[in-house]
Point group: C2
Chain length 382, copies 2
């Protein structure tokens, strides 16, 4: 889709801008890093939710790719992606929709972490004849779902139930979500090694029981970025790295100057006595995500940049209402408030690319000259 | 739009449910309250963003109504609404779009709080001949935008600039946003009186300078609910009251049993040793809003209810990832974790109806028997 000769001065605000050169550089760096480690790459498309971005991120127009919703799986299938994993523990009521996608020639796999779910998949295979491939979710670090890598009995029990039921046991999958709370390169490398070791241990439990485990899949942006050795792993998944955000900057996994996403906003007023500049990008445009509040540098609802994308010194969105952002100089800073009259435009680096992206229905791509290029649609919903 | 005989057991999750009887009761109560105070009612449609809901909330199919984006104004204009105020300080670059909506026979007014904006509107009137109506935004309580009601010089200066420029000065508008931080009925009634007094004072400044001020518009859900006397006010705006949420329950302006919105979710796993139930409603479905974290009762990401809408004792969504909600018994409670196997369904009361609604593209209305009725589309974006 093409813009009708829009510029950063004419786009209706608020809207999403995506710097294509930064996006491509982030992708190329990750691909080179993982190739050097000898593992495959399955980009997670839950951040971008855009076929245009997916085609840049994937190693091949048909995948592989990771998705977080069946809506994404349907959308990317429509766009030609043929190798996907749906990365949220499967609910029995979603299996019919999984098979409908698979019937279109898509190798869509599911994940699970309980005997109950394995029974449901086995029953579905029996009823439909669709041998849905399954990865068993393993818990790397107590973050969320998954079976402990030390619980070989349950792992093997699930694997046997799937095998008996005619499902395809494809392997194990982990997500080291607790790496998000770190910010030290050595600790992040240790988290990556912990994730790898848990994955390999779980895979060995299955293989020792003569169960297949061709895929050993790990991933998160921080552990993907800081992994030094991935022996025994077959593929890495990561998503937010390609777009980046202030939270990942706080973790240390994406430099601020590599963040590809900004929200374009217009100044709509001032409260001069308080040092406030008010813009039309409130939390609806930026999202309610305040993830940096728990990090060493709290970026409010985002860092305010000029139209070239350069941050103003210590200028942040300190507070937000639904359609109002309150821009101030960070507390304790001696930086001057820039002169931004009503109608001026700024770009705001977001805390969390997944959350901010989801507030919008498209990206306006910026070309290498910083000019507004194509419109890249994105999806939401389930 | 009709559901194809969907039930709470068959809808794809996560999705939004809207209890039509509660919605109608909330609207009827507000209308009766404001009629008793002798003021008009301009429902704010920024929470619902749905024509089906708007038709229940408005006193007339043509309005009046309040909107927070021009996208809403366009959508509701398409649906026959003819009297709207766009309630975010106007950026000069949006005036062409305002006039395009007005050219379709819609009385769309804008708000502003600076001489710069008044100059821009005057220039637009001169260039286009469209005499855009304007309300001057007045600051009731230091919450956000607006001119101090004590600053008669600026108020009158703006009014004169508009009058000279041929714009229609329609009146003053206030939003007592700081009432959201209160939770005591007497303090809320005082905030409503403060909002009224500020509005009347600003209107009197304009009238004393022989400027017109036919409209004196105030509003927020808490002050609308607790106002006892609105002498001098012509209309009240409120939006979230009709749907309700846990934040408004914390303020005291909507009872928990009157909240009309829930997110339907499916249990997808457990971490039994930790007392966790994991559902497919993460922050993408619930929103990142954690507004109750600052209130006396922190509801996490939401209160978990059974399919009839009755809360389980002390069961909340304590944490959330993008597509995972972690449900636990509230810390300190002795309530038992309910037995909810994989595939079970629950309904989650949200912290903030505006934020949660925006994560979805439709409501599934529940009829008075609690059955799934019509699909009501909703919009997002700008």
């Amino acid at each position: 889709m093409q813009n009708d000769a829009q510029t950063l001065d004419t786009l209706q605000t608020p809207c999403l801008l995506l710097d294509e050169a930064r996006l491509r550089a982030n992708v190329d760096r990750m691909k080179a890093h993982l190739a050097g480690l000898g593992v495959g790459f399955r980009p997670h498309l839950k951040t971008a939710k855009s076929l245009d971005v997916a085609r840049i991120a994937m190693t091949n127009p048909e995948g592989p790719a990771m998705v977080s919703t069946l809506r994404e799986a349907e959308y990317f299938a429509e766009g030609g992606v043929r190798d996907m994993v749906y990365g949220v523990g499967i609910a029995p009521g979603k299996l019919a929709r999984v098979s409908a996608i698979r019937s279109r020639g898509v190798d869509l796999a599911v994940i699970l972490d309980s005997i109950e779910q394995a029974e449901a998949v086995a029953a579905h295979v029996r009823d439909t004849g669709d041998r849905v491939p399954v990865l068993i979710e393993v818990d790397a670090d107590g973050h969320r779902s998954g079976i402990s890598p030390d619980d070989g009995v349950t792992l093997v029990g699930i694997g046997q139930r799937l095998a008996q039921g005619g499902a395809v046991l494809r392997g194990v999958l982990l997500h080291a979500g607790d790496s998000y709370s770190l910010n030290d390169p050595a600790a992040l490398a240790a988290a990556a090694e912990n994730e790898r070791a848990a994955a390999v241990k779980a895979a060995e439990s299955l293989r020792a029981a003569r169960l297949p485990c061709p895929v050993v899949s790990v991933g998160s942006t921080p552990t993907a970025r800081f992994a030094r050795d991935l022996t025994g792993v077959t593929e890495v998944r990561a998503g937010v790295f390609m777009i980046g955000d202030l939270f990942q900057t706080g973790v240390g996994s994406v430099a601020m100057e590599d963040i590809a996403l900004t929200v374009l906003a217009t100044v709509i007023g001032h409260q001069r006595a308080k040092g406030w500049i008010i813009t039309d990008a409130g939390w609806m445009a930026l999202s309610r995500d305040r993830g940096t509040a728990r990090q060493s540098v709290d970026q409010g609802y985002g860092v305010v940049c000029d139209l070239s994308g350069r941050p103003y010194p210590d200028l942040i969105v300190a507070d937000a209402n639904q359609e109002h952002g309150i821009v101030v100089v960070r507390r304790g800073s001696t930086a001057a408030l820039p002169n931004l009259p009503v109608g001026s435009r700024v770009r705001i680096l977001p805390n969390h690319a997944c959350a901010t992206g989801a507030q919008h229905d498209c990206y306006h791509a910026l070309d290498s000259a910083g000019a507004v290029g194509a419109v890249w649609p994105r999806i939401n919903g389930w």
